[in-house]
Subunit: 476 residues, 2 copies
C-alpha cells in the first residue's frame, strides 16, 4: 500500500514536472510557432476576405427575427443548410427537434391610472411564454412593488393585484452577464411566486443597465398547479416612474392588455454540418450558436453573431487549407431562447452514440454572448484540462485576447456537460458592456454589430477550434 | 577593478532577487490588499455615482466641437475651469498658449466629370490647415492615383494635376492605431510631396477601416518653399469609386471648391487644476487629455472622453477620501489636433521649473484614444520602471484590464518625455476597433459614447494615478 502510494506520488510528481516543462517550453516550441503561423493566417483571412458580415446581413435583413416554431425559423434553417453546403461541409443535415410555438401577436399596451385620474402610457412587451390578458377586458388592478421574489412570501396584501418586480441589474459587477444572472429570477419565476401570493399579473423591470423606454423580452415560467397569470417586461424608465408614482399614490392602478398565446408544438431542428476528421473521425468537436431568436429585433447579437461565427469558422479553416484530425460539427441549434430543446436533443443523441460505441463527443464550443470585440474564452471542463487551455493563452496575446478563465461555455452545449466522459467545453467571451443594451429588444439589429469586431470573434473561434482539434488528448 | 565588477555584479544580483521577491510577494502583501480595496471603491463609485457621462453630455451638447482658436474652445476652457473648481481642486488656472486659428468655413464640395460628360458628387472635407481653392473658380484638373508618397518621386506626369492618395489602412493589423499610423503620411505630407511634383491639389483617402461616404478630417502640413496647394479628405467609398473610374477613364477630371482659411493666432491656454501633495508637493503627477477637437462632430471620443476621464479622476479620488502624496495636476490641454502647442508649452514650463529646482514632473498619464471599454495601459518610461508597472497588472484583472505593455502614452504629454529625468508616462488603452469609425468626423458625437464604457475608463485612470502616486519611487 505504501509502496503503491509512493509510486502514485512519484507518478503525480512526474506529471506535474512534465506539465511544467510543457507549459514553459511550449511558447518556444515548433508546435507553438506552427500554431502561431496558422492563427495569424486565420486572422489575416477574416480581416481581408471575411464573408461573415455579409452573412449576418443576409440572416438579419433577409429573414429577421426567428423565434422557434415560426415561419422565419424555418427559413433560417434553409438559409443555414444552404450556406454550410456552399462552404463545402462533407455533409449537412437537419436533426429534428420538436419545439414550442408561441406568439406575442399584435397587442401589448399598458397604462398607469393615478388616483386623481391622470394617466401615463407604460412601455411593455409580453414575456416569452406568457398567457394573454382576459379576452374581453384589459387586466386592471392596484399594484405592489417588490425587488425580490421572497418579499412576496407570507404577505396578504398581494391578492388581486399586479406585482411590479423592480430590482435593477447590479451596476458594480464588471461582468454584465453576472449582473443579468443576478436579476433574472424576477423574470423567470416572478409570475409563479406572484400567482402563489394571489396576484393577477406581473410587470418585470427590463434586464439592462440602460435607462431607456425599450422593454426587453425573455423567457418566463409557469408551475403546475399555480395559476398562469400574464407577465410583461416593462422598460427601466417606466419601472422607475411607476415605482415612484406608487410611493406617492399607493392606490394607483395599472391596466394592461396582451394577446400573446401559445400554439401547438411544431417540428423544426438543429442544422448540423460535418467536416469528417482525417485521423479520428469518431471523435466529435461540436461548435455552434443558436439559430432561433426572440421575436422582436433581428437577433443580430443574440445569436446571429454566434451563428455566423460558427459558419465563418468552417470557411476560415478551409481557406487556410486546414485538415481536421477529428470530425468538426458545425451546429446551428434551435430553441435556445425558450426551452433549449435543440441543445437537449443534441446531447441525448450524443449520449446514445457514445453508449453504442459509435462516437465520442470530446469537445464543444459556443458563441452566444454577442458579436463584440472578443476578450478571450471561458473553460468549462475537468481540472486536468486547465493547464492545456492556459498553455494556449500566449498564442492569443497578439490579438488582445487575455481572458482565459474557468466559466460558463453556453446554453446550447450545456447539456453535453452531463456526458459520462465530460467534454472539453469552451465559450467565446466578447466584451460585454454593450450586450444588454440590445439583448431581447427591437434594437438587436444588424446595424448594431461592428464588422471588424464580428470578424475578430470568428478568428478567435476558428483558432480555438483548431487548437482543440490539434492538441486535445485522444479520449479512450 | 575585478573586485568592483564583482561587487556590482553582486549588487545587480541582489536587485534582481529583490525585484523577484517584490513581484511574486506583492500580490499577497497588505499593500496589495489595500490597493485592491481602494481600486474596488473607485470602480464602485463611478458605476453608481459617476458624473462623467453627464459631464461629457454637457461638453459635447452644450458646447460642441471646439477647434483651437475658436469661440467654442474659449467656452470649453471656461467650462473646464468651472468644473474643476466645482470638484474642489486646490487651485485652477489657465496656462496661456498662443494657438493657430483656421476655419473650414462653409464650402467644401467636389465632383468627378467623366470624359463622356457624366458627373458624380464626391464627399470631401478640407484637411485641417489647408489653403482654399482659387477664389473665383473651382480647382479643376485631371488626376493621378497613387498609394505611396514615393510613387510621386521623379514623375513628370503629375504637373497640373490633382493627386488622389488612395492607400487604405492595413486591415490585418489588430491595433487600429498602428494601421492609422501606417497610413497617415498621405494626409500629413501628401500636399507637400504632390506640390513638389507639380500637382495643384490633393485628395486623401479618409483614415478609417469603415467603408462609407463620410470624410475624415485631420492635420496636414506645408513646407517652406513648396507651393501650398489645397488638400481635402475624401470618403473611403468615394476614393474607391474615383480610383475605379480613373482605371477606366484616365482623362476624367475632378473639380473641387473649398473656402477654408487661416486666421491670426490667438491666445487660449491649457486649463490646469492642482491638488497639492501631502508629502511631496513639488513632485508633479500630470494627467490629462485635450480640450480642443476638430471642427466637425462634437469631439466626443476625440478627446471629450479623455477630458472627462481626467476630471472624473479628481471627483473619484476625492469621493474615496484619498490623500495624494504628490501634487496631482489635472490638465485640459489645448491644440493637440493642429500643433500640440499646449503640450509643448506645458513641457517647456516643466523644464524651466525643474532647472530652477522648484518642481519635478515625475509622472504623466494621458487618455486620448476614446471612451471605449478599457483594455489596459501603455508604459513609456525607462526600463527600470517596467517591473513596477507590471506588478500592478494583477490589481486590474478583476476589471478585465490585461494590456500592460510598452507603448505610446499620448501626444499632449509627449514633450515631457524629453525632460532630463524622463518621467514615468502611461497612456490609457481602450478597445480600438470602433475608434476610427468616428475619428475626426461628424459622427464623433455624444450618442456614440457608451456610459459604462466611459465610466470604466475613468476608474482605470483614477486607479492608475493612485498607484503611481503611492508607489512610484521618489526622484532625487
Amino acid at each position: 500500500m505504501n509502496q503503491l502510494l509512493c509510486n502514485l506520488h512519484h507518478a503525480t510528481l512526474l506529471l506535474v514536472v512534465n506539465l511544467l516543462i510543457f507549459s514553459t517550453s511550449f511558447s518556444q516550441s515548433s508546435t507553438y510557432k506552427n500554431d502561431s503561423v496558422l492563427i495569424r493566417s486565420i486572422y489575416d483571412d477574416v480581416l481581408v476576405n471575411g464573408e461573415i458580415y455579409e452573412n449576418l446581413r443576409s440572416l438579419t435583413k433577409g429573414i429577421g427575427h426567428r423565434l422557434s416554431g415560426s415561419h422565419q425559423a424555418d427559413q433560417a434553417m434553409v438559409w443555414g443548410v444552404d450556406l454550410l453546403k456552399k462552404y463545402e461541409a462533407d455533409n449537412v443535415f437537419v436533426m429534428p427537434v420538436t419545439v414550442p410555438s408561441w406568439s406575442r401577436n399584435d397587442i401589448a399596451n399598458a397604462r398607469v391610472i393615478l388616483s386623481g385620474g391622470k394617466e401615463e402610457t407604460l412601455h411593455i412587451t409580453a414575456l416569452g411564454g406568457s398567457v394573454q390578458t382576459p379576452k374581453d377586458n384589459p387586466l386592471r388592478a392596484k399594484i405592489i412593488v417588490v425587488k425580490h421574489l421572497d418579499e412576496l412570501k407570507g404577505r396578504d396584501d398581494v391578492n388581486g393585484k399586479i406585482v411590479l418586480f423592480n430590482r435593477a441589474m447590479d451596476p458594480v459587477l464588471i461582468n454584465t452577464g453576472a449582473a443579468y444572472g443576478g436579476a433574472n429570477d424576477q423574470r423567470t419565476f416572478g409570475a409563479i411566486e406572484a400567482a402563489k401570493a394571489g396576484a393577477v399579473g406581473v410587470l418585470v423591470r427590463s434586464l439592462t443597465h440602460s435607462l431607456d423606454t425599450i422593454p426587453h423580452t425573455g423567457a418566463m415560467s409557469y408551475e403546475k398547479g399555480v395559476p398562469r397569470i400574464p407577465a410583461a417586461a416593462i422598460s427601466t424608465v417606466d419601472a422607475r416612474i411607476l415605482a415612484q408614482f406608487f410611493k406617492e399614490d399607493p392606490n394607483l392602478e395599472v391596466e394592461f392588455t396582451m394577446n400573446c398565446r401559445k400554439y401547438h408544438d411544431v417540428e423544426q431542428g438543429n442544422v448540423v454540418a460535418e467536416w469528417i476528421g482525417s485521423e479520428h473521425p469518431n471523435e466529435i468537436i461540436t461548435l455552434g450558436g443558436h439559430l432561433d431568436s426572440w421575436d422582436i429585433g433581428e437577433g443580430a447579437h443574440d445569436d446571429g453573431a454566434g451563428i455566423v461565427h460558427t459558419i465563418e469558422t468552417l470557411r476560415l479553416l478551409k481557406a487556410i487549407d486546414y485538415t481536421p484530425r477529428r470530425t468538426l460539427r458545425f451546429v446551428l441549434f434551435i430553441n435556445e431562447e425558450n426551452g433549449n430543446r435543440g441543445g437537449k436533443k443534441y446531447a441525448e443523441i450524443a449520449s446514445q452514440e457514445f453508449e453504442r460505441g459509435e462516437k465520442i463527443y470530446i469537445a464543444a464550443m459556443e458563441s452566444d454572448a454577442g458579436g463584440f470585440s472578443p476578450r478571450g474564452f471561458n473553460l468549462d471542463a475537468s481540472d486536468e484540462y486547465y493547464d492545456l487551455f492556459k498553455s494556449w493563452e500566449k498564442l492569443f496575446e497578439p490579438y488582445n485576447l487575455y481572458h482565459f478563465k474557468r466559466g460558463w461555455a453556453g446554453v446550447d452545449i450545456g447539456p453535453l456537460k452531463k456526458l459520462e466522459h465530460r467534454p472539453f467545453m469552451v465559450g467565446l467571451v466578447p466584451d460585454g458592456q454593450r450586450y444588454f443594451d440590445f439583448h431581447h429588444t427591437e434594437n438587436d439589429i444588424f446595424e448594431n454589430v461592428h464588422k471588424r469586431e464580428l470578424e475578430l470573434g470568428a478568428a478567435a473561434m476558428a483558432s480555438m477550434i483548431m487548437l482543440i482539434d490539434k492538441h486535445l488528448p485522444t479520449t479512450k
